[in-house]
């Protein structure tokens, strides 16, 4: 027996610093059937346009907020009608579901599963009652913007598009300081978001830093060999190998993979590595590659290309921005020798790769020319101690001496 149940689809929090987001576009309409992981809307945050996923399966029953609207995190944007029993695995609170019976469902859920506020004339008689055709609404975007009077006046005078601005006032009201040219610090929104997160991190997290020079000669020659018979677009880059090695080292030292919350370390079950990507327009974004330890180096390479492209085109998925368990920042060929990263809260570590460089190495008592990279680990001393962090770096080095095993 299945009980229909309405589940709220809420504005997600896509980072510790996010208090609200802008619903830019719905990609579904009332009556659409969606599955866990489907992209249902586009959101705009400090990080740019993000694709919003749905975490349950069911039918879109109500759309409560029309674009373009800024809404605080947690705001119910839409309701999803789920089949409680048949889709139990997808429900947010499965342990609660069995106890819900028709008599125990709160009145509002029974009384208005399919809002009567939607014009009744829009309901086709041939459509079963739970499914309502989409109501096409043209909403004056400007009238929905919550801005202070002076902001609205300036927007009108200078033809500013307020819909793309996240307000810092009460209920997301756009204030003078939120306007790009009026910003008190002169910082655009993303810059400010980075500023807030990094300031919080440096203030709250007692960082310590360890670095290790890793001999990359074998890894480089392995890469050259693998790439020799590949078309240029198929070739593996060093970062894919590095990410795999990091994931394998994290498997051995799970204490570095997780979050420091409620004054304790919460280990993560999966290894999702956030990758710092510099955007051409300035700023950074850190989407995660999921379960890196289970992917082949080739698959990781594809994932890196994919998220880089989507970061720049503005189509990252919401989960990719929220569930990284560890972060890697990579200086690349033209960067510095070493980068001491700032931890992205509430993660407990960030690993920085300097540029790969030719250097003089001592191998079996002989001086030889080889490749070397400096890795630097920044770790939260509340959660991790130096010895463990050192072991992690050495494990990473060992992994990279056997690239063929990765």
């Amino acid at each position: 027996m299945t009980q229909p149940i309405l589940t709220d689809i809420t504005m997600p929090s896509l980072g510790a610093d996010m208090t609200e987001g802008m619903l830019v576009k719905w990609l579904v309409k009332v009556g659409d059937i969606v599955h866990n992981g489907d992209i249902i809307a586009e959101l705009e945050t400090h990080k740019g346009i993000i694709d919003m996923e749905v975490y349950q399966s069911g039918t879109i029953a109500e759309i409560l907020v029309q674009p373009v609207t800024a809404a605080p995190v947690g705001t119910v944007l839409a309701r999803l009608q789920c089949e409680a029993m048949s889709d139990a695995a997808d429900l947010p609170l499965p342990d609660v579901v069995p106890s819900i019976t028709a008599s125990s469902i709160p009145e509002p859920l029974l009384a208005e599963p399919l809002t009567a506020e939607i014009a009744p004339t829009e309901i086709s008689s041939t459509v079963p009652s739970p499914i309502i055709p989409a109501v096409v609404e043209t909403v004056d975007a400007y009238s929905n913007v919550n801005g202070s009077p002076i902001v609205r006046k300036m927007a009108a005078a200078q033809q500013l598009d307020l819909t793309n601005i996240i307000g810092s006032g009460p209920h997301g009201a756009i204030l003078l300081k939120d306007l790009p040219q009026q910003s008190a610090t002169g910082l655009p929104n993303m810059r400010r978001a980075i500023a807030v997160a990094m300031e919080k991190s440096k203030k709250k997290i007692p960082h310590f830093y360890l670095s290790l020079n890793i001999d990359m000669t074998k890894a480089q020659s392995w890469l050259q060999q693998v790439n020799s018979d590949k078309a240029p677009e198929q070739r593996l880059l060093l970062i894919a190998l590095l990410l795999k090695a990091v994931a394998m080292a994290l498997r051995k030292f799970p204490s570095l993979n997780g979050f420091y919350t409620d004054q304790q370390l919460q280990l993560a079950d999966d290894i999702h590595i956030g990758n710092v990507i510099s955007l051409r327009q300035g700023g950074l974004i850190v989407p995660a590659i999921h379960q890196v330890d289970t992917l082949s180096v080739t698959a990781i390479m594809q994932a890196v290309s994919d998220i880089s492209a989507r970061s720049r085109s503005g189509h990252l998925r919401s989960s990719e921005l929220t569930d990284a368990t560890f972060t890697v920042t990579n200086m690349g060929d033209r960067g510095a020798d070493c980068v001491y990263g700032i931890i992205y809260p509430p993660q407990v570590a960030i690993l920085g790769f300097g540029k790969l460089r030719k250097t003089a190495l001592v191998q079996e008592g002989n001086l030889v020319a080889g490749d070397e990279i400096t890795v630097c680990l920044s770790a939260d001393h509340r959660a991790i101690d130096g010895m463990l962090a050192s072991k992690f770096l050495n494990a990473l080095s060992s992994q990279l001496q056997q690239p063929e095993c990765l």
């Binding site: 202070s148 002076i150 006046k153 204030l175």
Partner: protein, 328 residues
């Protein structure tokens, strides 16, 4: 411009004395103004120079002697009526509201009432509720009256003279907490009595106030400057009519407003100023207009409760910070 240092009390007395000297028609009348020297010692010694015909002690009968003042003004005199405190003026409310404020209009402009009424006002001296209330707003509500609130020694010195030159009834509120404050008195008035003055320039938030709260606003502005917030302090000076142009000019510059008013919150003069800003400066605002007023209780006697009930510097600073942070 030359200056001399005087207390607010001395400045008031200088103003009265100059009026008495310059114009034979001027006389001072009220409870204890003569032999006792005034309840707040403002008129101390004047009876010795000007005699009991011009410095007139009255019985405890506010309605009576305010009525006499109105009659004298109608008869061509230039009376200065002192009502001991604004609290007692309610007994003379009928004379002030129904006679002084109306006669020019009811006579079709044939009779002006060139009367000046001085009243002590304000809280802070542990005089308990019946001696500490702020009724300025009641008078600022009445068409036909002008209501002045000198907050500086210079205004205390010259506003009386300006009021006496006005052909219509003017009420002057003298805040009791200012009486002992000493400061520079300029050698002439800073502005017309109906003009508001910016006492401190600023760009982030306008602190609009008057009378006894001006110094609190100025102290708050100094503290805010240290916190990186530039507060403009606007002294209304005249509560009726309000100098709307100066208010809107300040709001146009700062986009944020806090009004500090020792009156009670509900129905306060701050409410009136706020409404004016809504009507005339709405499109300049970046945040809701804030009011810091007295707690809605009869002013308590115990010092700590009295302080807690009144607007204080710390409240202004905190509110301005919240306003700048976008929390309000």
């Amino acid at each position: 411009m030359t200056t001399q240092k005087q207390s607010y009390r001395e400045a008031l007395r200088s103003g009265i004395e100059q009026a008495l000297m310059e114009d034979e028609r001027v006389f001072l009348m009220g409870e204890d103004v003569g032999r006792y020297g005034g309840c707040y010692a403002v008129s101390k010694g004047l009876i010795d120079s000007y005699g009991p015909e011009r410095i007139i002690d009255t019985p405890l009968c506010e309605s009576g002697f305010v009525g006499v003042g109105i009659g004298a003004a109608l008869g061509g005199m230039r009376p200065i009526i002192e009502v001991m405190t604004v609290n007692f003026s309610l007994l003379a409310m009928d004379q002030i509201v129904n006679s002084a404020a109306t006669l020019r209009h009811m006579s079709g402009g044939q009779f002006n009432v060139p009367l000046v009424i001085r009243m002590a006002c304000g809280a802070g001296r542990q005089l308990a509720a019946q001696h500490s209330h702020s009724w300025e707003n009641l008078y600022a509500h009445i068409p036909g009256l002008k209501v002045l609130s000198p907050a500086t020694q210079t205004d205390a010195r010259y506003m009386l003279g300006q009021a006496l030159r006005d052909p219509d009834p003017v009420i002057i509120f003298e805040h009791v907490m200012l009486l002992n404050e000493a400061g520079n008195v300029l050698d002439k008035p800073e502005a017309d009595m109906e003009q508001a003055l910016v006492r401190r320039e600023g760009t982030d938030v306008s602190l609009i106030t008057y009378g006894g709260s001006l110094h609190k606003a100025l102290s708050a502005a100094e503290q805010l400057a240290v916190l990186g917030i530039s507060a403009e302090v606007l002294d209304l000076r005249c509560l009726r009519p309000l100098d709307i142009g100066t208010i809107t000019a300040s709001v146009a510059k700062t986009h944020r407003v806090i009004i500090i008013d020792e009156g009670w919150y509900t129905g306060s003069l701050a409410g009136e100023v706020s409404a004016v800003i809504m009507e005339q400066s709405f499109w300049s605002l970046d945040a809701p207009v804030q009011r810091i007023c007295t707690a809605e209780v009869p002013i308590p006697y115990p010092s700590h409760l009295e302080l807690a009930a009144l607007p204080q510097v710390e409240t202004i600073v905190t509110r301005a910070q919240a306003l700048m942070a976008g929390h309000l």
